[in-house]
Amino acid sequence: MLKFLGKRFVQMIPVLIGVTILTFSMMLLIPGDPAQIMAGESASPEQLELVRERLGLNDPIPVQYWDYLKGVLTGDLGDSIRSGRPVAEEVFGRLAPTVELAFYSTLLAVFIGLIAGVISAVRRYSVTDSVIMFGALFGLSMPNFWLGLMLIQWLVIGAGWFQASGWGTHQQMILPVITLGTAGSAIIARMTRSSMLEVIDMDYIQTARAKGVSERVVVYRHALKNAMIPVVTVVGLQFGSLLGGAVLTETVFAINGLGRLIINAIRARDFPIVQGGVLVFAFLFVFVNIIVDVLYRFLNKRISLN
């Protein structure tokens, strides 16, 4: 298990390096002179030169990248232009709400998605199935920022049950979690259903029926476990992709998470923060994927042996 974990980390090193190259090149590609942006509009040529020297902008690009990589490895992501504080400090200070939001949303998505998917599969081609599947399709087709606004419209402005901004209390957390978790529920429900239906057609289900097993037992003892195998991966990946979705949800609900930090930084042209924030998001996502992989392997030890 640990060995496998280690192996996955090693395999991910090229990807992580690729990620740093991409975030590094963001700085090179932004229109205008980075030094000008850092030093401000009114900076004199001498001041600009000073900034350039300090940031190493006069070095050849590979040297600049090497310095950047060294910084990343030692936790030095530069300083924010606006606040002047270290980027690492700003970014990690905002991480908790984002991770919590993604985590609770995943829980919700799994809970609703699995139940809906199994019901749909068991009663396939019934009215219930059609309703659930259309609901899932609708859930998949809604922009989550719009869903968030609609929830605010009805349940905050209309009914006054919840709060529309911030993070911490139940009243603040429930709506963002629903907002972010809806698309996930839809994906998991669809996946569960199609996986169940695929398994139901397998030969071993016929073997079970030929034993005289009741349809209920066929579904819950023989089909469900086999159908869950592909679903597990999707569940894991949902957590990752919900991390990304948090950018929009945080903006709608004014949650001071990492996503909102990045958005505000883009608006303020505070590029070190954007660069650092994006990098941390990507690293986080890669690590979540590794963990999912390991869990998947652990849950399906028997299958992966094959």
């Binding site: 990807v15 399709l137 087709s141 609609m150 199609s194 883009i266 990507a282 890669v286």
Partner: protein, 300 residues
């Protein structure tokens, strides 16, 4: 990162067994016609395209004409969808925004698909180090969760419709690369490809004549579903202020404007959102139907 991370993707297990019998359009159409949801989706999309084309003739207003006598009016006979904070007719803006939305959806997917399929087929066909490099590259792109990759690109390029198309296109490359690679790996092993090699066919002939035609079905299904995802992503970028700039009648941007008037005029935010839902739903329904119609296991 073995699986796609996009919102909705083709299940590779289903698509790689797409019906080999569907060779000619007639046979496909027969199955397609029987598939109700595909037909509904196609009808919806056709209507949406027509609306986009004939937008200027469908309403008496100009999308950017301001009218300070009619600010934030609720839907009425005169203004079907009401007016916004500049007194612009929302119905007109929605109709004119249709073209933008569809254009972003189509072109970003077209670009992303062309690059992605090329990379995927090369990767799957040649294998070895070519495969490793291309797929690692895709892993790097996939390492930026959800909308973040598109956001990062647009933050560098600057907000405009064309930049949104570019960033959403890059965002969808990995999905196509993975699907076409998977299908290529499968088709590559089939005996008719071996037969072509035994006859002395070169790589170009094998890829063009035998592999591409036989992996197109899952790619077309994915492209349809991806238009839906792209529309969502693009409108998300505009909602964040990173896409279309005012006064463009782009739905995400309109929605964002509407946020400020939620208390007094909720329709300003509600209606552009509904428009997005309708477009995305149309492509999702069509994509689902297409997949079922191309799936040999589905009988109806």
């Amino acid at each position: 990162m073995h699986e796609e991370i996009s919102m909705n993707t083709v299940d590779p297990k289903q698509t790689q067994q797409l019906d080999p019998n569907i060779v000619r359009f007639k046979e496909f159409w027969k199955k397609f016609y029987r598939n109700k949801s595909a037909l509904i989706g196609l009808t919806m999309i056709t209507i949406l395209i027509l609306i986009a084309i004939f937008a200027p003739y469908l309403t008496p207003y100009e999308p950017n004409a301001q009218n300070y006598d009619a600010l934030l009016e609720s839907p009425s006979f005169e203004h079907w969808f009401g007016t916004d904070h500049h007194g612009r007719d929302i119905f007109t803006r929605i109709i004119h925004g249709m073209g933008i939305t569809l254009r972003v959806g189509f072109f970003s997917v077209l670009i992303g698909m062309t690059i992605g399929v090329t990379l995927g087929v090369i990767s799957g066909y040649y294998g070895n180090w070519v495969d490793t490099i291309i797929m690692r590259l895709m892993d790097v792109l996939l390492a930026f969760p959800g909308i973040l990759l598109a956001l990062a690109i647009v933050s560098v390029l600057g907000g405009s419709i064309n930049n949104v198309i570019i960033s959403v296109a890059i965002f969808s490359i990995p999905v196509f690369a993975r699907i076409s690679r998977g299908s290529t790996l499968e088709v590559r092993e089939l005996e008719y490809v071996e037969a072509a090699r035994a006859l002395g066919a070169n790589d170009l002939r094998i890829i063009g004549g035998h592999i591409l035609p036989n992996i197109m079905s899952p790619i077309i299904v994915q492209a349809t579903l991806n238009i839906a995802t792209s529309v969502l992503t693009a409108s998300g970028l505009s909602f964040l202020g990173m896409g279309a700039q005012p006064p463009t009648p782009e739905w995400g941007a309109m929605l964002s404007d509407g946020r400020n008037y939620m208390w007094d005029a909720p329709h300003v935010a509600t209606i552009p959102g509904l428009a997005i839902v309708v477009v995305v739903l149309a492509f999702n329904i069509f994509g689902d139907g297409l997949r079922d119609a191309l799936d040999p296991k589905s009988k109806n």
